[in-house]
Symmetry: C2
Subunit: 208 residues, 2 copies
Amino acid sequence: MPLSDELWPEVQPAAARRLMLAGVQAFAERGYHGTTTRDIAGAAGMSPAGLYVYFPSKLALLAEISRSGHEQMLATLEKIVAEGRPPTATLTRLMTDFVSWHARRHTVARVVQYELHVLGDPEYQVVAALRQQIEQLFRRTISAGVTTGEFTVPEVRTTARSVLSLGIDVARWYGDHIRTGPTALGRQYAQLALRMVGAAADPVGEHL
Amino acid sequence: MPLSDELWPEVQPAAARRLMLAGVQAFAERGYHGTTTRDIAGAAGMSPAGLYVYFPSKLALLAEISRSGHEQMLATLEKIVAEGRPPTATLTRLMTDFVSWHARRHTVARVVQYELHVLGDPEYQVVAALRQQIEQLFRRTISAGVTTGEFTVPEVRTTARSVLSLGIDVARWYGDHIRTGPTALGRQYAQLALRMVGAAADPVGEHL
């Protein structure tokens, strides 16, 4: 399966997915401002005019890459929370999936995270709302753990933000030269997250 | 004191510092590839030719911003380690200063961190060596804590990297809208770092 189909199965048609992949690769290499629509169209095997059939602008393409990345992440995390496990097990799974996604999809993730400030309204608001929802899932899980006595946290907001930070920063430094695979890294980071929330036990491996 | 003097007291003359500040602001706003030497020179009140008196290229300017930022950070952290406190107190101070610097200097830090991949050899090697030394200070402090029994860490390398990650990511999200000041944030994050290394006690405030 082409990488573009794997990354964006919900985007139609295939040409739009190819443009998104070309956009990700160009933005990752030269930054948003250093990339032209001509570069992107060329890399996707199209004329510059061909790009405009699918995306009204370079900004619209970035917005779609960003929206889609955040929506996929949110859907994955919502599914985990809906399974209704106790907070320690839920946080372990949230963190494992959040981190392994950022490692596995580090090029997309880097573009999504670091070109975010380029988006203006209303595109930024759409993504900001999705980010809020992701942060809420972590915050609610941590709060639930405080309530059950599983976690001890002086400041839920700071702790939730820093747990997310840890996962997001993976996109900056992860690459094919790193020996620890995405899933193994996710598990190691889940253990660190449990420590950050002061999980009562240090349950290495127990909650996976 | 102008911000450029405060940021780079060791760079001479003042015109070079003004160019570095103009560079930081332009790179932060439009990215390295989206900025021309004309933009930077103009923002520093010079002609494009004036820039070349101080920096042979846009890349040399970025390299100097990056090298200088890393050297300052390394010097600050080396001083803390040289004071020779026990690992818990040393890690607390390292993390407090590392995080508060990334919060206070978030614009410079963002450029330094996120435009790093633009540097080629030999400029990249210079900065990479400084980053290695910074990581070493954290790694040695964590290892020392494992030896004294103050810390319990399954994987020193992953833990050191993730503690640094937490600090680095501050540059991405911190801004003037954040209510927690740089020093207060540094202290909160130092407590999180102590948890990540499994510090025997949960010594809130005790080591500051």
